[in-house]
Structures are given as structure tokens and as C-alpha cells.
């Protein structure tokens, strides 16, 4: 199962990153090398179709009482947004004109 094709343009598109040609030229060979390095796991013969997959906690999730508690104000919640208007966050236009 040797899969190490690393299509940097495709991955950048999925990750919402737009690298300059220079940055791409620097990062791509590094990433290819890292992927080759993690391919070490191929040596381990593991059944991927069954058996346990790790979960970080083994106990049932404790639930607290569902009590109404004060939360942060909308003013506070909006205070870090780069652009707001009233109780809304402003962003560049989403819908394109025909």
C-alpha cells in the first residue's frame, strides 16, 4: 500500500491555503519527505477493517446538570471580529451578481 503521491495544489485547495510559487517550492519537497518518513507505519501489519481504534477516554462521558447559566454577551462575542455592523459580522459579498 505504497501511497505517497502528494498533490500540493489539491491539498492546499482543501486546506484553504494559497501558497506562492516560492513557498510551494520550499514546502513541497519537505512534505514529500515527511510523508515518506511516516510511511514507516507500513511495516506494521495491522488489520484496518476491524479491531479497536483509539479513543482518548475510556470512561462514559460524564454529563453535568443542564442548568441555565449566563454566557458571554453578544457585544463581547463580537468584540474580536475585524468588521461588524450592529449585532452582525460583516464579510465580503458572498452572492455574485448575474
Amino acid at each position: 500500500m505504497k501511497q505517497q503521491k502528494f498533490d500540493i495544489d489539491h491539498i492546499c485547495a482543501l486546506a484553504n491555503l494559497k501558497l506562492s510559487e516560492e513557498e510551494k517550492a520550499r514546502l513541497e519537497p519537505q512534505l514529500v519527505k515527511i510523508v515518506e518518513w511516516v510511511n514507516k507505519l507500513e511495516e506494521l501489519e495491522l488489520d484496518l477493517t476491524q479491531g479497536e481504534v483509539y479513543t482518548p477516554i475510556s470512561f462514559p462521558l460524564p454529563l453535568r446538570e443542564d442548568e441555565v447559566q449566563p454566557s458571554i454577551s453578544s457585544e463581547d462575542a463580537l468584540s474580536n471580529s475585524p468588521d461588524t455592523g450592529g449585532k452582525f459580522i460583516k464579510v465580503p459579498k458572498v452572492i455574485e451578481e448575474k
Binding site: M1, K40, N80
Partner: protein, 483 residues
């Protein structure tokens, strides 16, 4: 003796007996910060006025908390209400949190004083603090070297006596490795022991907040204050938090400890290995039963970690899009363009590398071969630890394969990742681990020993670390270089 050289518990005692005021305590540390920061650059932000005001308030209180007047430095990925929290990233350069992390609330409830926010690798991604988006922190023992990372600022601040204690976060060794490099004590608690509410998420199944201090006792004290349920982190365990200090002092009737096989430690720095063997010898003298451990999956841990952590990071860091907080690229004309240019300009190179690696490991066609395989490997590592802890109470390893390295020495990302070889396993398995300083290299650089124990056995770690601390008599005074 200056106040800054005292441990947390010594300083607490003086303040309780009213021999020292909280204000005097804070003033001494602020002065130390002024003197040290020119060289060290451990802090992104020093809260001079706020800390002094808080100290005066504490001095006026009749009933004081357990940490009254104790300055604590906080890693800059832990939210502090009204105080800039950046994760050392340009993308959060102007972020002012509207709420406190649980650990900050807990410290303040006990009247500790938050003295500043410490430098780190951007979003905790790194092992040297060189990935900070702002500046590099220097190792207090040798200014040409790194303090380790990602909690490098927190470790350096404690080593230079700029603070008696600090908090860091540990995802793959980010508390223990800088603690080892700076000659201080650092603990990664059991996953689910300390609330992650208000810790900026890097890899949520691995992240855990832990204290950095100059003594084991102080480490136990800090954990006592920050551990336990808060109703805001659903992964927290409901297990009662023991009285760590009391249990630590009870000592151990017998010590059963495992050590790593020769082939696992063969490639490490000879001085680190020598010191590791020296401590094993000490333990034998103390009557410990030592067992050679076989961890067949140990050699896969790093590869496993560098798939799991970036995968989770790629998902966690999707939230930085310039909409609700942080930096927004000013010139974007469409929403999509805004996302792209904000993220591309806001993140540094290591963060981009990890986002891209994680996105790849989770992407269609590669998920099974990379992410799923890593998740299964993680179960294997866990199983091996569970088996090991049926035979022994502790596992001992060096904390790092070498002492602090020179700034700029590890430009190759993989070379940097190899620094985490002994620390990632505890995060992958979710078990607790502590690093204590055990000696100096010939060049005068601190070397750490790591102790690992079973889930929720922090008390055991403190017990053995406390005994070893007394045996090794680590020289805490820094070897000052003539500048």
C-alpha cells in the same frame, strides 16, 4: 536571600506568616523580569500594572487562597480574559479573549497572580520556540541555544526566576522537553485530568495543560489547584482529585520500574545516556527492582504522532478564517479570497506544514493508509503500556535524546520532530509523565529524566520524583555566562 529564588511553597509560607506581602513578592519578580528579559525574551506580554493591582488587592483580603501572592506565568495559548492571547501567531495577534480558561480561573481563585503571557512555538507546533511568530526565546543556561518548545517561554521564565511557576501545554512533549532543556520540573497530567476549557486547541485528543516549577513539591501543588472537573470540558474525568502533596510525602515502600532496551537508547547523546544509566544505578541503590521493557511499537510512535497531531490540527485550525476574530486580510474582494489570503498570510511555515500534512492524511484516498493506520497504531501503543503497567509502576526514559541544541541547528523539519522521540508516547496513550532535572552536561546544559506511570497515577510520579530530586541534588543556579 532574594524572594525570587524561593520555591512556591517557601514563598507561600512567608506570605501566610505575613513576613512578606503579596505586593513585595510581585515587585521582586517584576524586577527580575526587567533584568532578565533583555537577554531571555521569555514573555510576549508582562502584566506589570495588573499584577501589582491584584497583589495589593490580595494583601487587603482577610481570607487568602492557597497561592496568595504567587506570580504565575501563563503560556500564550491559554485564554486570559481581557489580556491579549496570541498563541504566538500573527493570525491571533490582536485577540483579546472575552473569558478565562478554567486553569486561570482556578489559579486566581487561590489568589495566584498572573504575571505575564509566555512565548511559544506558534499554536504549540514545535520543539524549540523558534516557530514563534514574534521572536525567539533564549535558553537561560546558554543564550546561543533554544529553550525547547513549545512551552519554551514558560520553562525559561521559571529557570531564570522571572516566575516561581508557570503553566504550559503538552501535546507531544511541549511541557517536558523545555523543562528538561531549562533544568526545571514539568508535568503532563493524565489526559482528562485538567480542563482544556480555554486552551486553544491544537490536537484535542493529545493536548493537556501542565505546570512547570523548580521543585517537585511545587508541581504537585500547582496540579492540585488546576485539576478536576469544571462542567465545561466534557472529556474530564469525574475521578476525585487526590491530595497530591500529602500522598507525595508518604513515600514509596517499594519501587518497581521499567527501563528502555539498549537499542532504543543507543542513538542518543552519550552524556544523556550516561546520566540515564547513573539514575538507574541510584534507583538500584535505593532498593528498586528494575526491569528491562520491550516496547515493539515504540519506534512507530513518532510517525504515529506526526499523523494524528497534524490531522487534528488541520481540523482545529480551520476556524481561523478572518471572520470572527484575529487577523483579516484587508484586500480580499470575495469571501473565499478572504479565507485564502487571511490564512496564507496569518500562519507561519510550520503551522502550514502541519495543516497540509494533516489535510493530506485525512483526504479521500489517503485516510485509511495514513490517519486510520495511525489511529490503530495508537491503540497498539496503548495496549503495550497497559501490559507494562501490570509488571511495573514506573517507566523511566531520558526526556530528550540530547541537551538543548543551538538556535538554527534544526532547519530540517524531521530533525526537529526527532526531539520528541521519548515524549510523544505519553500523549498517544494519555498517561501522565513528569520530567525532572537530573544533571548537567560537560558544557553545563541541563539534562532531564522522564518518569511515566499508569492513568491517574500522578501521586506515584510525585513520590518517586520527590525521592530522586533529593538524591540527585540538581544544581539549580544557572551557570552565568560572561556576556
Amino acid at each position: 536571600m532574594s524572594l525570587t529564588s524561593l520555591s512556591v511553597s517557601e514563598l507561600c509560607a512567608l506570605i501566610e506568616k505575613k513576613e512578606v506581602k503579596a505586593e513585595e513578592s510581585v515587585l521582586s519578580f517584576l524586577e527580575k523580569i526587567r533584568e532578565q528579559e533583555k537577554k531571555i525574551s521569555a514573555f510576549l506580554l508582562v502584566l506589570e500594572e495588573e499584577a501589582l493591582a491584584r497583589a495589593r488587592e490580595i494583601d487587603r483580603k482577610k481570607e487568602k487562597g492557597r497561592l496568595a501572592g504567587i506570580p504565575v506565568a501563563i503560556k500564550d495559548n491559554i485564554l486570559t480574559r481581557g489580556t491579549r492571547t496570541t498563541c504566538a501567531s500573527r493570525i491571533l495577534g490582536n485577540f483579546i479573549p472575552p473569558y478565562n480558561a478554567t486553569v486561570v480561573e482556578r489559579l486566581e481563585k487561590e489568589d495566584a497572580v498572573i504575571i505575564g503571557k509566555t512565548n511559544m512555538d506558534e499554536f504549540a507546533m514545535g520543539s524549540s520556540t523558534e516557530n514563534s511568530g514574534f521572536f525567539i526565546t533564549k535558553n537561560p543556561w546558554d543564550l546561543r541555544r533554544v529553550p525547547g518548545g513549545s512551552s519554551g517561554g514558560s520553562a525559561a521564565a521559571v529557570a531564570t526566576e522571572e516566575a516561581p511557576a508557570s503553566l504550559g501545554s503538552d501535546t507531544g512533549g511541549s511541557v517536558r522537553q523545555p523543562a528538561a532543556f531549562c533544568g526545571v520540573v514539568g508535568l503532563k497530567p493524565t489526559y482528562s485530568r485538567v480542563s482544556r476549557f480555554g486552551l486553544v486547541a491544537y490536537a484535542s485528543s493529545l493536548d493537556q495543560i501542565g505546570p512547570l516549577t523548580r521543585t517537585v513539591e511545587d508541581c504537585a501543588l500547582l496540579l492540585q489547584v488546576i485539576a478536576g472537573q469544571d462542567g465545561r470540558d466534557s472529556t474530564l474525568s469525574s475521578q476525585a482529585v487526590p491530595d497530591y502533596l500529602k500522598e507525595m510525602r508518604e513515600g514509596l515502600r517499594s519501587i518497581k520500574a521499567g527501563y528502555l532496551k539498549e537499542d532504543v537508547v543507543k542513538a542518543i547523546d552519550p552524556e544523556v545516556k550516561q546520566l540515564y544509566l547513573y539514575v538507574l544505578g541510584l534507583l538500584e541503590e535505593m532498593g528498586a527492582e528494575l526491569l528491562e521493557m520491550d516496547f515493539p511499537s515504540w519506534e512507530y510512535a513518532l510517525a504515529c504522532y506526526y499523523l494524528i497531531a497534524p490531522s487534528e490540527a488541520s481540523s482545529n485550525l480551520a476556524r481561523y478564517d478572518g471572520v470572527r476574530y484575529g487577523f483579516r486580510h484587508p484586500s480580499a474582494e470575495s469571501l473565499k479570497e478572504m479565507y485564502l489570503s487571511t490564512r496564507t498570510e496569518g500562519f507561519g511555515p510550520e503551522v502550514k506544514r502541519r495543516i497540509l500534512l494533516g489535510t493530506f492524511a485525512l483526504s479521500s484516498g489517503y485516510y485509511d493508509a495514513y490517519y486510520l493506520k495511525a489511529a490503530k497504531t495508537r491503540s497498539l501503543i496503548c495496549r503495550e503500556f497497559k501490559e507494562a503497567f501490570k509488571k511495573v509502576d514506573f517507566i523511566l526514559t531520558p526526556t530528550t535524546p540530547e541537551p538543548a541544541f543551538l538556535i538554527g541547528a534544526k532547519e530540517d523539519p524531521i530533525a526537529m520532530y526527532l526531539s520528541d522521540v521519548f515524549t510523544v508516547t505519553a500523549n498517544l496513550a494519555g498517561i501522565p509523565a513528569i520530567s525532572i532535572p537530573v544533571g548537567l552536561s560537560k558544557q553545563g546544559l541541563p539534562i532531564g529524566l522522564q518518569l511515566l506511570a499508569d492513568y491517574f497515577q500522578e501521586s506515584l510520579l510525585f513520590k518517586l520524583a520527590f525521592l530522586l530530586e533529593k538524591k540527585v541534588k540538581f544544581k539549580k543556579n544557572l551557570k552565568r555566562k560572561e556576556e
